[in-house]
Structure formats: structure tokens, C-alpha cells
């Protein structure tokens, strides 16, 4: 049984780790520090933690001001509010100025669960990806979250790191995290499955099922949605007969769109999407929601088969 971790637990602990290494970081939150786990940092380094209350726009623009004075700022809230409520502040105050603000958003995607549609960000990658200068990372599990946070700290400029609410299984055999570089988790020759976030685990389950049916699938983790690993994606399109792109996000504007944008210009290939299809989310248990919105390994298998059979 794989180890199960909350990515946001790992995030909070990594902030403390950075703080203890003596790194000059400042952490901001907007009344969700318990949920985002920035509270762990707040407890250790109270003077370097700012809680802005329920005011995400102020938090983001203020983070820009802090960063303009040399601070590396981690700003956290739920993905819905980080991307939606404060988009203009993120675009104009943070990204246009190319400032060192690392937005680490939790509770992204449908697996937010019972809180329902208002809190299930399914469009965040789409609306942030279009902004110049920002880098977008969607870690697949706990350990990769730690690596992503370190990479964000070490790389100048704005970041959006997208984390979920629920526990995710730790994936065995991952490559060391390299910003902007995806990696092959399973080699295969018939079809390529590309995934990010918790869909990487589903993709690996799909690989098992396909193997039983003598279908050879490659599985690729694209943790950095922007800048995306074009080379790896084009290579996968060359080697296999088509791609299934999986994400806990709308099929409009996310990872699948990014892949399609590259391949349509550089190596046209058949792409099928596993993602949320132009719908709002709803309340429910995580597993039921993944099933309802067709985000399971079974859905990946069905798409993969329809590509090649």
C-alpha cells in the first residue's frame, strides 16, 4: 500500500524547512492558514507571516509590494480565490512586474468534495496560464510538492503551485523534479497517457489495466504545465498512435489544451481528453465525484482504447 500524504501538509512543513534554513521568505494567507497549512510557518515564524483576513486582492497586491523590497513571498489561499478573485492583482501587480511571488493554492479541483462548485476551482490553470512570466506547477504527490516548493523558492519570478485538498498516494519511481521537464513513468508503444496532479496516480492504474489487455501505454508526468516540456510531448506523439491527456481541471484551457496547442503546430496527433467537460462541480464524496466527472482510471482506459482500437 502506497504512503498517503496531504500535499498541503508537505507544503506547510516545507515552508518551515525553508524558514529554518534561514531563507528570507515571507508567508501570506487570507484566513485559510489552517487549511492551507501556512499556519505551521506562522507558528514558527510569526513575524514573517501575514494574515490578511478574507481579502485576497489585498494579499496578492501586497505580496507584490513585499517582493519589490527583496522578499521571496509565498501567498496562499484556495485555488478558486487565488486565481479568480485576485486575477487582476496577480496579472498586473505580480506578473507584469515579474516579482518573486509564489502563489501556492490548495483545494484545487473537484476533489474539494462536499463544499461543492463554488469552491472547486476547475478553471484556474486556464486563466493563469495565459499570463506572461508566471510558471505553473501541479505536483503529483507529497514528495513532489516539496521539490516543487524548493524549485519555486530557487527560481526567480512568479509561480502558481496547484495543490489539492485530499490525501494522495506517493508514486514510486518518480524522476527527480526538474522545473519545466516532464518524465516518463512507464514506457509504452501504443498510446501515451499524459497527466498531472492526482491524475498521475489514475494514469498508472490505467496502465496496469491496459497491460492486462495487451495494450502498451506510456505514462508521462507533466508536473510543470508552464513552461511545458514540448520536446517530451512531441517525442511521445511520434512514438505512439495518440495521446490521452488527464487533469483534474476543465478540458478548456488546461494541460490538455497546452498539449494540443503544441502538437497542432509541431506534430499533429490524435488527442483525447480526460477532464471536466464544461460543467461546474457539485457536492459529494471524492470518489463519487471522480466517477461522476469521468476522472477515473477506467475513464482513461476507455479513452486509450478508443484511440487505438
Amino acid at each position: 500500500m502506497a504512503e498517503m500524504l496531504y500535499a498541503r501538509d508537505v507544503y506547510g512543513k516545507t515552508l518551515v524547512e525553508l524558514g529554518k534554513l534561514g531563507k528570507d521568505i515571507v508567508v501570506c494567507d487570507a484566513d485559510l492558514s489552517g487549511s492551507t497549512r501556512t499556519s505551521l510557518f506562522a507558528k514558527e515564524f510569526p513575524s514573517r507571516f501575514f494574515n490578511f483576513g478574507v481579502a485576497e486582492q489585498n494579499m496578492m497586491a501586497c505580496s507584490a509590494g513585499l517582493a519589490s523590497c527583496g522578499k521571496v513571498v509565498f501567498a496562499s489561499t484556495f485555488a478558486m480565490f487565488a486565481s479568480g478573485r485576485a486575477w487582476d492583482q496577480v496579472r498586473n501587480s505580480i506578473c507584469y512586474s515579474d516579482l518573486n511571488v509564489k502563489i501556492v493554492a490548495t483545494h484545487a479541483g473537484i476533489t474539494v468534495g462536499p463544499d461543492g462548485a463554488s469552491h472547486q476551482a476547475l478553471e484556474d490553470i486556464a486563466i493563469l496560464r495565459a499570463i506572461p512570466n508566471i510558471k505553473i506547477v501541479v505536483p503529483s504527490d507529497g514528495p513532489e510538492t516539496r521539490e516543487a516548493i524548493f524549485a519555486a523558492y530557487e527560481t526567480p519570478g512568479p509561480f502558481y503551485v496547484r495543490l489539492g485538498r485530499s490525501k494522495v498516494p506517493t508514486i514510486e519511481g518518480k524522476a527527480p523534479f526538474k522545473l519545466g521537464k516532464g518524465y516518463v513513468l512507464r514506457q509504452g508503444s501504443d498510446v501515451t497517457i499524459i497527466a498531472c496532479g492526482l491524475m498521475v496516480h489514475e494514469a498508472l492504474s490505467a496502465w496496469e489495466q491496459l497491460k492486462k489487455e495487451n495494450i502498451s501505454a506510456a505514462v508521462i508526468n507533466i508536473h510543470t504545465v508552464k513552461p511545458i516540456d514540448e520536446e517530451l510531448i512531441i517525442d511521445a506523439a511520434r512514438r505512439t498512435r495518440g495521446l490521452v491527456v488527464c487533469e483534474e481541471h476543465s478540458v478548456i484551457g488546461g494541460l490538455a489544451s497546452s498539449v494540443a496547442e503544441i502538437l497542432s503546430e509541431k506534430h499533429p496527433a490524435k488527442i483525447l481528453k480526460v477532464g471536466v467537460r464544461n460543467r461546474f462541480g457539485q457536492s459529494g464524496e471524492e470518489k463519487d465525484l471522480l466517477r461522476e466527472y469521468q476522472l477515473t482510471s477506467g475513464d482513461i482506459v476507455a479513452r486509450a482504447k478508443s484511440l487505438i482500437l
Binding site: V26, Q57, A61, A64, G65, L66, S68, D88, S93, S97
Partner: protein
């Protein structure tokens, strides 16, 4: 207190800046003269007698900060930055032209600009961030932020107002360029903002109300703000939109329209004739 000689110097400087603004906007063919001219005296006083800054070293860590939240009034700021020596005055002729450093709204690539602005309502938050960083680092610098009166209709301003008082940011001084007009007309008719002083006081700010064209009063207000402890200060500066050019004064059309060539000649003549 400033002596009368220094006041006269600042007034002359402001007149010179106004001439530069009119000239820049005429060349650019677009831009915002109204608010640039209403804020000229405040900005002149700040840069030439209040702030500690070094045009030869714009990144000097101990510099006082200025953030132009009402970014559309950057022609005034650009003229002043050039006059201070942050960059060559020749640059002013290229305002708003493709490839030029001087963008239609402030861009961080321009020496002297701390953070991009232009989308209204965000600047007080940005200034608050600078203020918090200064306190965190134990630095003595002050942070100034110029806002427009129409701009404070943005909700983000009040989030920042609340937070600045919460954090007792006494190194932060906001200035409101209260010229009474916004693009669609009189502020009082588009979306009233009064009672202004009461609003800011109730948000925990120390409030000063002054004539934003009286150089001695402006300087005195900044001086007072420095001495206020435990709370941020806002200087509500009553100003005249288009100040200094008779046919632009209180004319809403000049919020966002450059003067024609005939108007430019007239404006330059008026501003030059005021030289003493």
C-alpha cells in the same frame, strides 16, 4: 518648515514640470493631462523636498518609496523622474511610442518605478507591502502612495486601508488627489465618496486635509505625517483637475485626452507667462 525661497523654488519647479507634461502629451497624442496636472504640486514637493532618494542608485535599499496607484498620471511622474536625473529628458519625447521605456502606464523597467501600476485600486496594497517589508527589515524608509479620488471606489483600496491600520503602518503615507472628477463626470455624481475624512478615520487612519496646490501646506502635511505614530496617514489634497492651464481646469474632457497643437501652444504660453 520651508522658507519662502525654497517654496518659490518648488513652485517654479512645478511650473516647469507642468510645461513638460503638456509637451509630452501633445507629442504622444494621447494620455491623461487632467490628473497629471492636479497631482503635479504634490509630486514635485515629494521628490524635491520630502523623499530621500538617489537617482543615481534607484535600487538603494534605504530609499523612501513612492508608488503611483493612479498610474494614468504617470506623465507627471515621468517628468519629475527625468528632472531628478533617473533618465534622460530626451526619453520624454517618446512617451507611449512603441519600444519606448515610458509606457502609457508605469512599467517597472523605467528607473524610479518600483512596481507596475495602472489597473486602479491595487496601489495602496502594493505600498502596504513595501511598508511591511520596511518594518520587517528594521529600515527607516517611508512609503508614499498617490491615489485618485475616483480610484477609491475600488473595493481593494478599502481592504488595504483596513490592513494598513491593522498593522499600524506609521511608515505609510497615502495621498488622495481629490480633484473631484473621473472619466464619466463628477465623482459626486458618478459614485459619491463622501464623507471622505470620516471614512478614513473610521478605518483607523490619521487624516490631514489640505489645499493640494499650496506648496507650504503640502510640505507641512508630509512633515506632520512623519511624526504620527502607530497609524498610517492619509493626506486628502483638494486639487483642481487640469491645474495650471485655464481651459483644462475642471474640464472632464481633459481627463484622458491630449491637447491639440493649437491647445498646446496656448497652454505653453499660459504656463510660461506665469514664470516670475
Amino acid at each position: 518648515m520651508l522658507d519662502s525661497k525654497k517654496i518659490k523654488e518648488l513652485e517654479d519647479k512645478a511650473r516647469q514640470i507642468r510645461l513638460m507634461i503638456v509637451n509630452m502629451l501633445a507629442r504622444a497624442g494621447s494620455g491623461h493631462p487632467g490628473g497629471s496636472l492636479s497631482s503635479t504640486d504634490i509630486l514635485t514637493c515629494l521628490y524635491f523636498s520630502v523623499m530621500r532618494h538617489n537617482p543615481k542608485d534607484p535600487a538603494w535599499p534605504d530609499r523612501d518609496r513612492f508608488h503611483l496607484s493612479k498610474g494614468h498620471c504617470c506623465p507627471a511622474l515621468y517628468a519629475i523622474l527625468a528632472e531628478c536625473g533617473y533618465f534622460s529628458k530626451d526619453e520624454l519625447a517618446n512617451l507611449r511610442k512603441i519600444g519606448c521605456m515610458l509606457q502609457g502606464h508605469p512599467d517597472r523597467h523605467t528607473p524610479g518605478i518600483e512596481v507596475c501600476s495602472g489597473s486602479l485600486g491595487q496601489g495602496l496594497s502594493v505600498a502596504l507591502g513595501m511598508s511591511l517589508a520596511g518594518k520587517l527589515d528594521g529600515k527607516g524608509y517611508r512609503v508614499h502612495c498617490l491615489m485618485g479620488d475616483g480610484e477609491i471606489q475600488e473595493g481593494n483600496i478599502w481592504e488595504a486601508a483596513m490592513a494598513s491600520a491593522h498593522h499600524k503602518c506609521d511608515n505609510l503615507c497615502a495621498i488622495l488627489d481629490y480633484n473631484g472628477f473621473q472619466i464619466d463626470g463628477r465623482v459626486s455624481e458618478v459614485m459619491g465618496i463622501e464623507p471622505l475624512a470620516d471614512k478614513w478615520r473610521s478605518f483607523g487612519w490619521y487624516v490631514l486635509e489640505i489645499d493640494g496646490h499650496n506648496m507650504a501646506a503640502i510640505h507641512k502635511a508630509f512633515d506632520t505625517a512623519k511624526k504620527i505614530k502607530e497609524k498610517p496617514t492619509i493626506i486628502i489634497a483638494k486639487t483642481i483637475k487640469g491645474k495650471g492651464v485655464s481651459f483644462m481646469e475642471n474640464v472632464v474632457d481633459f481627463h484622458g485626452r491630449a491637447p491639440s497643437s493649437e491647445e498646446t501652444v496656448l497652454a505653453e504660453k499660459e504656463l510660461s507667462s506665469k514664470e516670475r
